[in-house]
């Protein structure tokens, strides 16, 4: 009931911002080939790209959680020296231009990179221009979203519960598994959703590090970009699909972002 009337200038600029966000969607959705949508999206090359994107982004998200949650816990709960540097490093790829991220991967763990030769000669592992490389690129750019979300959640959870569990004889691992993890599950879910959306839409790092090989590294983002130069209807159909996916993620995160300030109690 404390809603106030906005000053005219503020309202006007705010409306411009809304139009700015909405118009691009209107333009694309207006011209999208709706009647052929199913036909285009069901085509073999499109399904191949989509399936590749789904697989790689889900694996990248799971790996990001496996390594990201422990890192977030270390950042939030321990005071190890150089923590700020580590946090900056872990966040770096979020602000780094994706194409530069791809470059760093190519020149480090790429086949001809500083460590890539060792990976290949000792382990027979080639990351650049491979499906595994797509996962690596996606993980590189999406893990910070998960780390930051989980670290925030750990900060908000009360450390006294963990202390109490330890007092009652719980081992460190037991406490982490049974107290810490459940307490952060909402933050973890949000972090995984964000990381997955970022991984699914990844383009710059992927095309730089993994190239564009249909069935192996041509993700749906890359296929969409390339379709623009071949058949714009295909590009629009793929864009519609990815807009729908993004909407789903947003709906999934609605409790967190779209206003429902729901307190989660444990």
């Amino acid at each position: 009931v404390n809603k106030q009337r906005p000053p005219l200038a503020v309202a006007a600029l705010g409306v411009v911002a809304v139009v700015f966000f909405a118009l691009p969607f209107v333009g694309l959705l207006w011209r999208a080939p709706w009647s052929d949508l199913g036909h285009i999206l069901w085509r073999h090359d499109v399904r191949t790209a989509l399936w590749l994107s789904l697989r790689t982004s889900l694996i990248a998200t799971l790996l990001a959680a496996v390594f990201g949650v422990p890192l977030a816990w270390l950042l939030a709960r321990t005071g190890f020296p150089g923590r700020r540097v580590v946090r900056a490093l872990a966040t770096m790829s979020m602000v780094l231009p994706p194409v530069v991220g791809g470059m760093t991967l190519l020149f480090s763990v790429g086949r001809k990179g500083l460590f890539g030769g060792v990976l290949h000669d000792w382990f027979g592992l080639t990351l650049s221009y491979s499906t595994v490389g797509v996962v690596v690129a996606q993980m590189f750019v999406s893990m910070p979203f998960l780390v930051l979300a989980v670290e925030g959640a750990i900060h908000q959870s009360d450390p006294r519960f963990e202390g109490a569990a330890r007092t009652l004889g719980g081992s460190e691992w037991y406490v982490f598994r049974r107290i810490t993890l459940p307490a952060i599950r909402s933050g973890l879910a949000a972090g995984m959703a964000l990381a997955w959306a970022r991984a699914f839409g990844e383009f710059g790092a992927t095309i730089t590090f993994a190239g564009n090989f249909p069935g192996r590294t041509q993700t749906v983002s890359i296929a969409t970009y390339l379709a623009l130069d071949v058949d714009q209807r295909d590009a629009m159909a793929l864009s519609v699909l990815m807009i729908a996916v993004s909407l789903l993620v947003l709906v999934g995160l609605r409790d967190r972002w779209l206003g429902h300030e729901r307190r989660v109690t444990w």
């Binding site: 889900l58 001809k112 221009y129 595994v132 090989f213 130069d229």
Partner: protein, 256 residues
Amino acid sequence: MRTIHRVAMLLALAAPLAACGSTTSEGSNISGTITVGAATSLGKAFTALVADFESTHPGVSVSLSLASSKELRTNINNAAPIDVFASADWDNMKAVKVALRSPAVEFTTNRLAIVVPPGNPKGITGLSSLAEAGVRVATCSPGVPIRTYTDAMLTSAGLLEKVSANYNNFAANVAGIVTAVVNGGSDAGVVYRTDVLSAGSSVFGVTIPDSENHVAHYPIAELATSTHHAAASAFIEYVNSAAGQAILARFGFGTK
């Protein structure tokens, strides 16, 4: 129980990854999956050609990776798993640092043409129109074959300095030039004649007379790093065969 379920899920997701690149040999004496890195301009012709090749070689599957010859060359030099390289010029073929199984051979030729939006709003009639003030011309970044051919042609015509001052858009590959013109980013661009043909009604083409035009030469080669020698050489043989050449001709390419 829960853990087992999760592990199973991970494995289910990872399994297709491991399956990638594995080859199956059935009946046919040649089998395997080969990756052909082909110049962007070959896109439609090679898509048709690959379909035909696969139907006559049931055991072989071809994965077509389309990009500018310059980008493909960079990929190859960074150890990308490409078996056959079909380049739109000799410069990029010669810049390949990986050994070739056998010397590259020219398999087709192409000619250049000017692409403009439908209706030709700027009234482009030939190369000299591109040099006029206020005409925005799309091209590619240096080293991409179409740019090399365009600049060579303009140099012969004595127009390079004026036209290059009109370059306003530097696409990653020749298809990007067509996109720039279609979407109004540029008024005209020099592309291959085959690009104008395959773009259909979305663009107009302005012919460049043979006396001013340059010939684009397309070499093809198998890389020594290819692990599917039989399939790769069969593909190259097919491209050079009467059937392969007929498909290229259908898309406007020159035959040997």
